[in-house]
Symmetry: C2
Subunit: 184 residues, 2 copies
DNA sequence: TAGATTGTTAATCGATTAACAATC
DNA sequence: TAGATTGTTAATCGATTAACAATC
């Protein structure tokens, strides 16, 4: 099963040249006159993105965002399994979310010391987010996926990706207001 | 209260030239030797993004993603208030989420005909998403914020913004795997 | 007025696209 | 072999940055 940069481009709304340039970046393995082997391509891209090995995640904050991430089916398929959830609210501790039971944040450091955790999902309100990030930093956490609606201050060693849903909502709002105008 | 492109650039990690170019796009109103009036700047940007008037939203799908959007505090502050939630699951109909009660999707067209709805948030599983989008299209909906993890086919008249959380997770995963490598 | 900082044009840089020899 | 399609270099395009006259 093969695919050409031409067809890949059509499906992804990209120029075929762009496709070839991009694939080349992670080591060309196409064949002239033939195209790319789909299975090999998928494997290479997966490896490139680190999807070839599991990445255990824990989620801090068992509110609606934390729950949504824990339940997102495609993450689990791709190896991003949530292995524990934490909350500081006593009322949420003990609650079942999917097949996990919410733990108290007091247990956080202990948990991190005992388990391999690749990614910490930060799904707490804006107020407590920076403090929690500093705490995670002290506990040796290296990668954080932040859903708190602010940009967090962190050291060079930490990798923090911020998800700001409002950015995408603002784009929608902007395009709504300017629809029908001549582009440019 | 004023601010210069210099300081704005420092705060936003942008080149001051970039800042000036960008602000100019929506009509320059800075003053030489002085900078930009912060209040005026905020108002102009707000207007540009359509934040000067409320945008009633409804959410389809009362699962964890739908609930998270309904509760996201900054949306409400910015005028994106959720005015109704729908689900096709009888068990969820009648449930309270914040101060809303989940309605059955059977009432959707009726609701849309009777109320001003600027944005429909699509927070249903991937399987039903395209079908629901077509239904919304027939009901005259013009703007959709899609959280279903697939790109939806839609007519030119419809504005559909896709939120794919996994994109951001893949970026995190990629950077994790390639950390410490010499950039470029 | 002198100093500061914009609006705007010009220069630079990087990213996208086109072209084509290499080769399967 | 002939046709197709890659890898790769060159050309184009757009976006970022620098520069500076205008002016508050």
């Amino acid at each position: 099963m093969q695919i050409s940069s031409q067809e890949l481009g059509e499906r992804l709304n990209q120029n075929p040249s762009q496709i070839r340039q991009d694939i080349r970046c992670f080591g060309g393995f196409g064949r002239q006159g033939y195209g790319y082997n789909v299975a090999a391509l998928k494997e290479h891209i997966g490896k490139m993105l680190g999807l070839d090995e599991p990445h255990p995640m824990i989620i801090i904050g068992a509110g609606s965002i934390g729950s949504a991430v824990a339940r997102y089916p495609s993450f689990i398929r791709e190896g991003f399994a949530t292995v524990a959830m934490f909350d500081r609210d006593e009322n949420k501790v003990g609650m079942a979310i999917g097949d996990l039971t919410v733990r108290h944040t007091d247990e956080l450091e202990e948990y991190l010391a005992a388990h391999k955790v690749d990614i910490v999902v930060l799904a707490v309100p804006a107020q407590g987010a920076q403090e929690m990030l500093d705490r995670l930093s002290r506990a040796g956490v290296k990668s954080v996926w932040n859903f708190a609606p602010l940009d967090l201050v962190h050291s060079e060693e930490m990798l923090v990706i911020n998800v700001h849903l409002s950015d995408s909502l603002h784009i929608l709002s902007y395009k709504m207001s300017h629809r029908g105008e001549v582009p440019q």
